[in-house]
C-alpha cells in the first residue's frame, strides 16, 4: 500500500474517538462519551477551538465545539480552580490547548501513515450562531460526545493532495 493510500485508509472517526477519550481522561479526569451520528447540536453560546494542519500530502483543520458552560467546567477541571476565578482568557486557553493536543495526536497518526504535516497554533471562535463549512472536495467528519451530560462536538476537515 502506498503512503498516500495508507493515510487515506485511516479510520478517522475511530482514531479521534480514542484520542478524545485519552485527552479527557489524562488531562481532565473526565469521560467523553461518544454519541450517535447527527447534526451539530444547538449549544446556545458556543466556543470553538481550531487548529490547522498542512503538508505535502494532507491539509485540514480540527475544530472542538463546546457550550460556554461546558468550556468553563473543563477549564475549572484542568486548572483546578473554581468557576468565579476563571477568566474568559483562561477558558480560551484551555479550549485551545485541548484542541492543540487533540490535533497533535491526530497529526501523529497521519505522520505515521506517511502523511506528515505541520500544525498551526490554536485559534478561538466565540458566538451564538455560526457554521464552519469546508470548501468543495474537503472531507468533513463530525463526531458528537457528551461530557458531564453536556454536548460537545469534534469536527475535522481533511483533504489529501
Amino acid at each position: 500500500m502506498t503512503a498516500m493510500n495508507q493515510a487515506k485508509s485511516l479510520d478517522i472517526r475511530q482514531l479521534l474517538t480514542g484520542h478524545i477519550a485519552d485527552v479527557f481522561h489524562t488531562m481532565l479526569s473526565l469521560d467523553a462519551i461518544p454519541q450517535p451520528k447527527g447534526p451539530l447540536p444547538n449549544f446556545g453560546e458556543r466556543i470553538t477551538g481550531s487548529v490547522g494542519f498542512g503538508g505535502d500530502r494532507v491539509n485540514g483543520a480540527m475544530y472542538v465545539h463546546l457550550s460556554i458552560g461546558l468550556a468553563e467546567e473543563l477549564a475549572c477541571a484542568m486548572l483546578k480552580s473554581a468557576a468565579p476565578q476563571i477568566s474568559d482568557t483562561e477558558i480560551n486557553d484551555v479550549v485551545g490547548e485541548i484542541t492543540n493536543i487533540l490535533t497533535g495526536q491526530f497529526k501523529s497518526s497521519l505522520s505515521d501513515a506517511g502523511a506528515g504535516c505541520a500544525m498551526s497554533t490554536p485559534a478561538i471562535i466565540r458566538g451564538l450562531s455560526y457554521q464552519i463549512e469546508p470548501p468543495p472536495g474537503v472531507r468533513r467528519e463530525l463526531l458528537l460526545f457528551h461530557c458531564r451530560a453536556k454536548p460537545m462536538a469534534v469536527e475535522v476537515h481533511i483533504k489529501f493532495n
Partner: protein, 128 residues
C-alpha cells in the same frame, strides 16, 4: 535556592500545570511564552532545566533549541521537550536535536516530575 526550571510554552494552561506539578518541591519555576522570550529568560536566570513546547508563535521550540545549543553558555542546560505530537517522525526529529527527554501531551503531572527528577535533583519542601 532550589532547582530552577524554565517552562517555555505559549499556553498559560500548560505553564500553570507545570508550576502545579512542582509545588511540593523546592523548585523555582520561571516562565516564557515563546522561544524568543525563553532564550532571554534562560540567559538571565541560567535554569537547571528547560521544559520546552514545540509549536509556539514568534519562535517555536525547535528554533529555540537550535539557538540554545549554539550558545556556549546555555548549551549545557538539559532540555525536555513537551510535544503534542507522538509520531515516529516527530520523536526522531526531536531526538536528533539533542534533547535529554521528551513528554507527549496529554501527560500526568507525576510523569513530568518523574522525568525531571531523572535529570536534576528534586527535593520535597520541608513542611514546618
Amino acid at each position: 535556592m532550589g532547582t530552577r526550571i524554565l517552562s517555555v510554552d505559549d499556553s498559560h494552561t500548560i505553564r500553570l500545570i507545570v508550576s502545579r506539578a512542582f509545588r511540593d518541591y523546592d523548585c523555582q519555576i520561571c516562565e516564557a511564552a515563546n522561544g524568543e522570550e525563553g532564550l532571554a529568560v534562560a540567559a538571565r536566570e541560567k535554569p537547571d532545566l528547560i521544559l520546552l513546547d514545540v509549536t509556539m508563535p514568534v519562535m517555536d521550540g525547535v528554533t529555540m533549541l537550535t539557538l540554545l545549543k549554539a550558545d556556549p553558555v546555555l548549551k549545557s542546560i538539559p532540555v525536555i521537550m513537551l510535544t503534542a505530537e507522538s509520531g515516529r517522525e516527530n520523536v526522531l526529529a526531536i531526538a536528533r536535536l539533542g534533547v535529554r527527554d521528551y513528554l507527549v501531551k496529554p501527560f500526568k503531572e507525576e510523569l513530568l516530575v518523574q522525568k525531571v527528577g531523572h535529570i536534576v535533583p528534586l527535593q520535597k519542601k520541608v513542611v514546618a
